[in-house]
Symmetry: C2
Subunit: 566 residues, 2 copies
């Protein structure tokens, strides 16, 4: 392709609104442009990479007998009413009405649509298992679209759905899918981890995420230094037998702590370790207030809390609610002598605190030598805190470390939650009606583009892995008015075409410096420069990954390229 | 692919709401399902055909240096305000608001988006010409979605846009595009015609349509029996020198025509040819009433009328408006003694009528011996009627015949209409700011699926052309419990795979009759049946196109298949 005939609007400046490197480079190298907040145009280079990503995904989906479909973007509200998600999906669901004032949704995901399809057209166990996938533009009205393609409102996904007659059949397909996902991300050249995860609004019993490791990731992964354990910290269990101190219990004592409100303030003032402090937070959980207690050096994990309490609404109690109920401010709440109507839930670590410190439910006062059970009752001990670096790995093997990740894929064992809600059944071998057992499996296709850009770049620009590069070779003619150079360029272009290389030919009337800067920014694996040495039948070859530059005779180009690309 | 593991829900009955054969067969053969009015799911077989169609389109677009992009579906209203189409596009434009109450549109077409992109990032003539295309789902809130994939509200299109510095450059690309389109539809195996067309809401000076010939087409093509002339009847010019009768003018006479209202009634009652009747229709054109006159055997073409009058709103006057202004009913309107404020436009054919008949503007009366100019004035004679079969071809060569067509593609020379409206300019060789000269070019991708189904079928089902068939071969094992049959089936399946055939293997536990009926319905080019003859190493082969059935030895299968497919 002649560079003069395609559309690669490179930028010299870093766009001011692009915070992370993938967003900056995809804009600067002319891969994408923002149309509006969270909505992008994919320019020719990006579209070529997307097609390569999609083809790898297709090959791996086909290999596990998943069949490709294309489901509607415009979705019936009736189906969303059946699953209750018309209400619960909230503002992230784009809603619109047609000319006849009928409401509909723009698909952010397709559980409802595909379950309705299978409900209508699959009657017998003989047609199961059945796995379908699609690669499609999805819509989600994100509150804060950001980081370019990482969190957009219009994005490309591969979503797959499997239907089964038994849990065992789902388990088999689920594992095949996990393996296919690993192959996909490996083939894409991404450094990634498979982690245990939370189901979010899709739901599901067992779920995994595939995370590209990246400093700019929005997710934190907890992994064991020595075992394969890895989980999103949102769900990583804490599995520790806390040692109980042999220190004798001392008498409860009230101390003045003027204007000391934070854990650090109080610990410093009283000269104790934060682990001695009993931190109490009041939540409103489905219209009831409750107190949640963790150690001062621990943080409450609201996802765990929400699950443990089985509530759908969970919010911090407001200051006015607290002052009304406890007659004190947020900084001095403690579990001793709380009103009886407030249930108390404590993290497991709290149980083993001896002679701890807590707020006195009176401004500017704390209690010393507080001991659980003796000084306050706990309705339930639960795993309520975030895992920490240095904790024992939940599988008992090794120490936990953290890494940042970009979610690339997500798999869910849905079970019968959707088929029950939507009354989707088949007849089993005995002629009995049964609900479909389901799984669903997503990959963020446009997000992969950004994840690769995050992992493959340097100060000068992008560095595409060979299999995903928009073109294999950047052929640069220094002087398009020099007959020797243009003749060699054309010869080489056509020769390399016969070897099936995809070539971007910089035929522009630009200075060499501009061409080289653009080439580094775009980041094709091989740059072949045809300049003054053309008169001696020589070209300069630069490898983007290593920066190595060599001079080749024109006769040896094809052989050497083959050895590089294979 | 095992048929038991994919999703091909065939139907025995013709769905009651499917009026045309492509819609019926695509539903019955399990290619598509309706999600809601005008919105379809593409099931695995359809998705495979769509990909083949898309690949042919991509190859031909790439061959003329068009580069692929993917533009947003969610579109800024600001851009639509710039071109005025936010108002004029009307109810066909799906509109929605996001969580911040900002309005946006779902893209039915992308002139605005791409012009804004090029406006922002193309500053110099050096980057022109530039042609970009995309293959994408589009949205249009059709008043009456119908005919399955032919007129939907969510559909797949290839849309291309070209930007130029001169009209000549546009002409070159436009012709390349016409040729590329012809190659595409030829490769797709469609019987089609390239016809002159109307620009519709996209606008443009010169436009062509590509029409698949089909009895169920919504468009009518007028073509010459002897020349290459072909046009949509919406715009086909009438180019006839009407012979003036030598009959002497007679005296105007008022005759009673009780309850005779239609042309046929009046012509029969007065015993004259309908061509003698002067038909008068009152329109409201941009808030002014006007009378439009054609011969009784001719029909008014409202598209020609709208263009000739340069009005944006054109409607038939209401009965009450007519009665108020003329004091008579619709059936007896005539041009004689019309109120002066009503302008009169007549078709060219009217000029040559001698001693015609027209309504008397008085219920139950007509006038005889009416002569234009003598008895009524005409503000303007224009080409206002539809061309008819039997008319002289507008190019002066041959007689006009009609055919029905399905619009597959549409090309437009837009000129500077969009770039002027959106102030999209580049700097020319002299540093002067100039508006981009533009073209745009569409193909209905999902509509092609239906058009092929229209042209390739028989009473038993679909008959896919080799290059587009979802699979090459339907391998049918009659008895999946017979070891000899399954062994030969598996051997053959794997052997044919190595020859790169794409095979659908009917491994279902169904009766032979069911399998054969489904195979005919689905319509793959070759059916290989493995039944009792398997024990003698023989298979039955049926060609869907011809219905021919032969018996082959297993050893000769690959060679014979190759000769069929090449």
């Amino acid at each position: 392709m002649k560079q003069s005939r395609t559309f690669i609007p490179t930028l010299r400046e870093i766009p001011s609104d692009a915070e992370i490197v993938s967003h900056q480079l995809l804009l600067r190298a002319g891969f994408i442009r923002q149309h509006m907040s969270g909505v992008y145009s994919y320019l020719p280079l990006a579209k070529k990479v997307l097609r390569k990503i999609e083809n790898i995904i297709r090959e791996e989906m086909d290999a596990i007998e998943a069949v490709e479909v294309l489901l509607p973007t415009l979705q019936q509200t009736d189906l969303w009413e059946e699953t209750g998600r018309w209400q619960t999906y909230g503002q992230e669901l784009f809603r619109l009405t047609d000319r006849h004032d009928r409401e509909m949704a723009l698909g952010p995901t397709h559980e409802e649509v595909i379950t309705s399809l299978v409900r209508d057209d699959v009657q017998s166990y003989k047609k199961l298992p059945l796995t379908m996938y699609q690669i499609q533009t999805k819509f989600r009205d994100e509150k804060r679209p950001r980081f370019g393609l990482l969190r957009g409102r219009e994005f490309i996904m591969k979503d797959a759905y499997s239907f089964h007659s038994t849990e065992e059949s789902l388990d088999v397909k689920y594992n095949e899918m996990l393996e296919a996902y690993s192959r996909i991300f490996t083939r894409l050249g991404l450094e990634f981890r498979t982690v245990l995860a939370d189901g979010g609004s899709i739901g599901g019993k067992s779920t995994h995420e595939f995370m590209a490791l990246s400093e700019t990731g929005e997710d934190t992964i907890a992994f064991s230094e020595t075992s394969p354990y890895a989980a999103n910290i949102e769900i990583a269990e804490v599995n520790i037998d806390y040692a109980k101190s042999s220190e004798p219990m001392r008498e409860l004592e009230k101390v003045e702590t003027p204007k000391k409100k934070t854990i650090v303030d109080v610990a410093t003032f009283l000269n104790v370790d934060p682990s001695k402090i009993i931190k109490t937070i009041i939540f409103r959980a489905d219209d009831e207030l409750c107190a949640v207690i963790v150690r001062g050096d621990h943080d409450i994990n609201e996802i765990k809390l929400r699950k443990a309490l089985s509530v759908s609404e969970l919010n911090l109690a407001s200051e006015s609610e607290i002052e009304k109920t406890l007659s004190c401010k947020v900084g001095t709440i403690g579990p001793v002598k709380l009103p009886l109507e407030i249930k108390v839930y404590a993290d497991n670590a709290v149980k083993e605190i001896v002679n701890g410190i807590c707020g006195a439910n009176e401004d500017d006062f704390h209690l010393k030598n507080v001991n659980p059970e003796r000084d306050f009752a706990v309705d339930k001990y639960l795993d309520l805190r975030f895992i920490k670096e240095g904790d024992l790995s939940p599988d008992g093997n090794g120490t936990i470390r953290f890494a940042k990740g970009i979610e690339l894929g997500h798999t869910f064992k849905l079970g019968v939650s959707y088929s029950e809600a939507m009354k989707a059944t088949y007849l089993d071998e005995n002629g009995n009606s049964q609900h479909f057992v389901m799984g669903c499996y997503g990959i963020g296709v446009s997000r992969i583009l950004a994840a690769i850009a995050e992992q493959y770049n340097d100060a000068n620009g992008l560095k595409w892995p060979k299999k995903l590069a928009p073109y294999d070779i950047h052929l640069i003619t220094i002087n398009m008015n020099d007959e020797i150079q243009t003749k060699l360029s054309n010869e080489l272009y056509h020769l390399l075409k016969t070897y099936r290389y995809d070539i971007l030919h910089d035929d522009r009337d630009e200075r060499a410096g501009v061409k080289f800067t653009d080439a580094d920014l775009i980041g094709l694996p091989v740059r072949i420069t045809i300049g003054k040495m053309a008169q001696d039948g020589m070209v300069e070859v630069k490898f983007r990954e290593t920066g190595e530059t060599v001079v080749w005779q024109k006769e040896e180009i094809t052989e050497k390229l083959q050895s590089f690309f294979n």
